[in-house]
Amino acid sequence: MTTTTMPSALGRLTQRRKLGPAFIVAIVVVIVLAVLPAFAEGYALTSYRDVLLFALFALSLDLFWGKTGILSFGHATFFGLGAYGIAITAIHFEIDPSIVSLVGMLVGVGMAAGVALVVGYFILYGGVRGAYFTIVTLALTLIANHVAVGWPAVTGGDSGLIGVPPISIFGWTLADPISSYYLALTVLAACLFGSMWVMGGRLGLILTAIQDDEIKVRTLGYKTPFLLLMTFAASASMAAVAGGLYAAANGFVAPDMIALLLSTEVIIWVAVGGSGTLIGAVIGTAIVWWLQQKISSINASAWPIAIGSFFILLVLVFPKGPAAFVIDRIRHLRREEGADR
């Protein structure tokens, strides 16, 4: 197992300077998204904007799950902290309107990073990996949801908080559908290319190596818990950015944004696009959203059944996502062909 992965990691190192297929796909996707507003009117555009923000959220999960192989079932916690951060800051504190959204974003992202660092420190340095990490982070979402529902004086309880102001940067308010769409797209593109650049470098290789054999990497002198912790915190911060932008764009925050269902959905988005590719998370979110629109319009109750069945298939048949499953099949066939020759 390890002998086969080492050359592939080295192989990727030499390929690094070439444009990978994922990078080309990412550029095409961003260009398509940039011209999309020419073909969509107000309401559709706000839906697309929400999809972009969910795609950013999915990207944040893929940054951790796809690159380290450790599944976080608690990512809605960070999305929710970002959303509640900006909502609580804007609604409960009297801050100058020109900077309130920036302060709110900082509060939300700060809380998410803080929680990720504290929780991540204990579990990652404590040697918790694999399924146990998933279970601990699952509990994290449940706790966060209980706090959001059970502290109505601050969070608005089950009703949440309505009246979150739109993002405003020093008096320049991004409230209308087009500007909020481009804000979402800009942040998504920046995070996407940023993540691809970082993960295409040394850190990405080390994380891949940790996925294969963490003890070997540690023996080579890398502080693996530290690297995992930093990736986790970066991923959490990105999720919080998505949550904060989502709350500001939609004007409210509610417990659905910090719930187990959202944690599950984001895993599905990433899985559909294929985890570990980064751009796959963005595409997966869009595909699932599109399918949801189509299936729900046929029958509202068909969607939960469809997505539930898909989740079971995902676990049993293609744990690395449908795209990876197909690619693996093709590779497998080619290898067989090669063996025949």
């Binding site: 009117e41 309401y43 089950d158 309505i162 659905d256």
Partner: protein
Amino acid sequence: MSKRNLTRRQTLATIGKGAALAGAATLGMPAIVRAQSGPIKLGFLSGLTGLETILGETQLNCFELAVSQINAASGIAGRQVEFIVEDDQTTTKGAIEKARKLINQDQVDATIGLIASLTHVAARSVTTPAKKLLMYTTYYEGEVCERYFFSTGQIPNQQIDPSVEWLTANEGKTTYIIGSDYVWPRKSADAIRASMEAKGGKVLDAEFFPFGTSDFGPALDRVKSANPDFVWCMCAGNDLITFLKQFNSFGLGKQLFSQGLDDVFSQAEPELTNGAISNQAYFMGIDSEANNAFKKAYGDMFGADKPINAIGEAAYNAVYLYKAAVEKAGTTETEAVIDALGQVSFDAPQGTVGFAANNVARSNSILARANNGAWDVINNYGQVDPVVAGCSL
């Protein structure tokens, strides 16, 4: 190079013009044509799944009954009525997203429905800024004063105040409130406190629980030690059933009052609701020609054994009041319809209803006690004018 740029710019401009033309084509002229001749579009938004499932179906049925009756009788001002049903799942997120969809994508002429108050708060945050008509059909905490918001259910001075008057005179001067944790129970508790104190009574304590609370045992222990004369419950939807089960098995021996109880609850759970007191604008037992015809039509369409409650009847009334207003205004244009809504009335199953100057319907106040699924009237206060402090629209 510059030539190439120019062509590119021209291409973009052409695309832009095309898009603008397409936009104008869908939004401009035909919209006006559609608005005055095609079918009238109503949005029905309510909690069809989630906490309020028990109430949502009846409300939708009553809405559908009104629409089908209107369509069978040549529609509104000769135009047929179409409707789009959306489920808000009794969540803020659902109500906001679906209200946006109804007014932006479906471009409905009015939105009717909603149960839990958190959804009217959420839906209003969309409809009022967009200047679209929203008609709420559930009894609630009142205190809303917005031109684009109308309600056909009771507010505290129509529901809580008459109840407190009777309860303090007949059950005792102290009560203990247990409710779900959101705007309706919390604001209603304030109204109950004020009302109780005005009658020389006292609210000993008020406790609020998140949706889906499964254990009221500790709270009932505290109620027991506080020893109130009667218990006031404002748990919502399915949580009310959970509370009733535990209240009954706890054996507190106290009178229960809940203005959330109606025929839907009493027929679903006749034993649990037995003896409880409620106050509604409508009970199925109202003996009038209009109500008998309403119950028969409802039974023919959905089955004779299906209960009807005040929320459903108010939804039925809302559709007819909207019809009357559109016919009076001669248009579906929101501002004109709103001006007309204040001047129309409807011979509803509960009696003749119409809106007061604060956009709340004048409605009945009937205090009744559950008796094996039905409701025995204790006191009928008749029709009460709604009072919203400082509100005249």
